[in-house]
């Protein structure tokens, strides 16, 4: 009978094209608005590394100004570490995996007479970065831990850089000139774009991942510029790059992988001891306040999903509700117009349950068509967001297959919900009077 109901629904949609189009448009507008905001919220708040987001922790220690907290919240902690602390934490190797990291950039000079130099972003990190975040490799491997300490000039390339400099071939072992120095390529990573870019939300939670990866220790060696956010509560003591690195300015992120609660508790104990030792040396003037946040906690604390986006999503749901109320009215009008057919079907043996199913299928079909059209509106809405906010939301404003299915499910369920009352009304007409009056 289901195929029969679908056939009848199609006939009914065609019978009243204007009314059907109005309903489909109403649902499509509601779905389009909802899906635009849901998609943005979904991508903003998605777990970027679900299989181990509970085991990865961002480190915060309160090294800030004794007279003023980091922000208006007295309990707020600085969102980055000093270069000194991050380096010390990493070299202590108290976690299963650990990496201080920062953002920089340099000029790449490709080989060949025609090739022009270009600028590329760099993620400075320790070798554990790759294992900790499950970075996929096309060719080669991360550098080994000796390179971290010996400050070897080794580099891991992104797929894009490998294509533009080496034509996409296996470049492991080859030399590339970065910042005027020769670097040996040890690996090329495959497409890798955690969304959000949780490991550095301070410097663009929805930016693309970096194009080059090299040992963190080279930051000091090569005096690489700081491309990320840098905050200071007091000026560096002395002049020059080294004084900047050793200052109380925060510009470095630090992540550790801790496989269980025991490891986490032990690591927090390590941090507390470290801070107490530093206090004895005259640093960390504020009360002891250290924190380990897992991936989702970290993104929430940094408000990766902005309040405005959440508000827009709820407003769009309200709009969908209004559209559905309109659809209820239109369905009532449509089903009332079918009272003669409904009466006839009752007379020839359809039960109320049969008719209920038939008309719910019709409501669902309208919902499905509205959902499909709504996806079109959602795409237009996302294009609007892209044009409004620019390229940096490119990764956010995209409908994936899951969101397409969500859109169709919402359209289907909401249209069925909207169809319940009109269907119930339609199935409870008195057939005798309708049959006589036709």
């Amino acid at each position: 009978m289901f195929s029969y109901y679908i056939k009848l629904a199609l006939i009914s949609v065609k019978r009243n094209p204007v009314l059907s189009l109005l309903m489909i448009t109403a649902i499509a507008l509601g779905i389009g608005a909802s899906m635009t905001t849901i998609t943005v919220n979904y991508l903003m708040s998605a777990d970027p590394i679900p299989h181990k987001s509970q085991q990865l922790f961002h480190i915060q220690v309160d090294s800030w100004d004794p007279n003023n907290p980091f922000n208006d919240d007295a309990q707020a902690l600085p969102n980055q570490l000093t270069w000194t602390d991050a380096t010390n934490f990493t070299l202590a190797k108290k976690a299963f995996r650990q990496s201080a990291m920062g953002m920089s950039g340099a000029i790449i000079e490709p080989a060949g007479d025609d090739a022009k130099p270009f600028e590329a972003s760099i993620r400075l990190a320790y070798t554990d970065f790759f294992g900790m975040f499950d970075v996929p490799f096309m060719f080669g491997n991360p550098w080994d831990s000796n390179s971290d300490t010996k400050r070897d000039q080794v580099v891991v390339l992104s797929k894009r850089i490998n294509e533009s400099v080496f034509g996409g071939e296996n470049s492991v072992g080859k030399t590339i000139v970065i910042a005027g120095r020769n670097f040996q390529v040890v690996g090329v990573i495959d497409d890798w774009q955690p969304m959000p870019k949780f490991y550095d939300v301070n410097n663009g939670a929805f930016d693309e991942s970096e194009e080059l990866f090299m040992p963190f220790s080279l930051k000091e060696e090569l005096e690489l510029p700081n491309w990320g956010n840098n905050n200071c509560w007091k000026s560096p003591e002395g002049e020059g790059y080294k004084a900047f690195l050793q200052s109380e300015c925060i510009n470095t992120q630090m992540w550790v992988e801790l496989p269980n609660e025991t490891a986490k508790a032990e690591y927090l104990g390590f941090l507390n001891n470290y801070v107490m030792e530093q206090k004895a040396l005259g640093r960390f003037p504020r009360p002891l306040n250290n924190r380990l946040s897992n991936v989702m906690q970290w993104m929430e604390s940094q408000e990766v999903v902005e309040e405005d986006a959440k508000m827009m999503m709820w407003l769009s749901f309200m709009f969908l509700l209004v559209c559905l109320l309109n659809t209820i009215g239109l369905l009532l009008a449509k089903f009332t117009g079918k009272s003669a057919e409904i009466s006839l079907r009752l007379a020839v043996g359809a039960s109320k349950a049969d008719l209920f199913k038939q008309h719910l299928v019709e409501a669902a079909m309208i919902g499905l068509l509205g959902g499909i059209a709504g996806l079109g509106f959602a795409m237009i809405g996302l294009l609007g967001i892209k044009s409004l906010y620019g390229d940096f939301v490119d990764n956010l404003a995209t409908l994936d297959i899951r969101m397409i299915l969500v859109a169709l499910c919402i359209a289907l369920l909401s249209s069925i919900a909207a169809g319940l009352y009109p269907t119930w009304r339609a199935c409870n007409i008195a057939p005798a009077s309708q049959l006589k009056s036709q």
Binding site: V348, G349, S351, L435
Partner: protein, 235 residues
């Protein structure tokens, strides 16, 4: 096979109580062709609706094919309508968007027949009313008389025991009305019991049996065809 005993039907509103049927008694035997006449508002159509299980009744008993239908639920009543009763209406009540094949198919869909069974029954029914060649036409492409023939085909497709007709020729001219009446008589001759409500005395006289309804009661009964087996008379 259709037996109503002291059946009452009262329509109530906040202000008015209308007795449409009062102690309505009737027994219709198998193979009968009963014409029901009476003035407007006498209760003819109410009787037909109750007989066809389209309306419930307020009191009395009603047995259809030996089964008391007083307390059946919607599903059971629908099943009985589908299997035992065929309806013919004054205004044909064909579904305008469905072609003749699909219109005749409507009751069969609720019967659970498979596709081949339905096709055979539809073709046979349309053949019987002389419209097999036009089964892909829409109702709007047919004359009134032809549309009523389709309605008859639809009613017959499920091979019901009863055919209930409410003014089946009311919207037709005399020639078409006679043609439809001839068809009903041939259907009755083949064994289907017919109850027909009509205002037309000429048509009623062609039935085997006439009953006259007034003020919600059967007031007269006569056998038009003396050869018809005797039946329980209305009281």
């Amino acid at each position: 096979m259709l037996k109503m005993t002291d059946v009452k039907k009262v329509f109530r509103t906040d202000l008015v109580e209308t007795h449409a049927l009062r102690d309505f008694n009737l027994h219709v035997g198998e193979g009968d062709f009963v014409a029901v006449t009476g003035p407007s508002g006498s209760g003819k159509t109410t009787f037909l609706n109750i007989a066809g299980l389209l309306e419930t009744f307020t009191g009395g008993t009603y047995e259809l094919d030996g089964q008391d239908v007083s307390h059946l639920n919607d599903k059971k009543r629908s099943q009985l309508r589908n299997e035992k009763i065929g309806f013919i209406f004054q205004s044909f009540n064909l579904i305008p968007d469905l072609n003749l094949f699909d219109n005749v198919d409507v009751p069969l869909r609720y019967r659970g027949f498979n596709s081949a069974q339905r096709k055979k029954r539809i073709e046979n029914s349309l053949e019987m009313v002389g419209l097999a060649q036009r089964m892909k036409h829409l109702p709007s492409q047919l004359s009134g008389g032809q549309q009523q023939r389709v309605a008859i085909a639809r009613a017959l497709a499920g091979e019901p025991r009863f055919l209930l007709a409410d003014e089946p020729t009311g919207n037709l001219d005399t020639q078409m009305a006679n043609s439809v009446m001839d068809l009903l008589k041939s259907i009755n001759a083949a064994g289907t019991t017919i109850i027909m409500v009509t205002h037309d005395g000429q048509l009623a006289s062609q039935a085997r049996r006439n009953i006259y309804v007034r003020d919600g009661k059967v007031s007269e009964i006569s056998d038009a065809d003396v050869s018809t087996p005797s039946r329980l008379a209305a009281v």
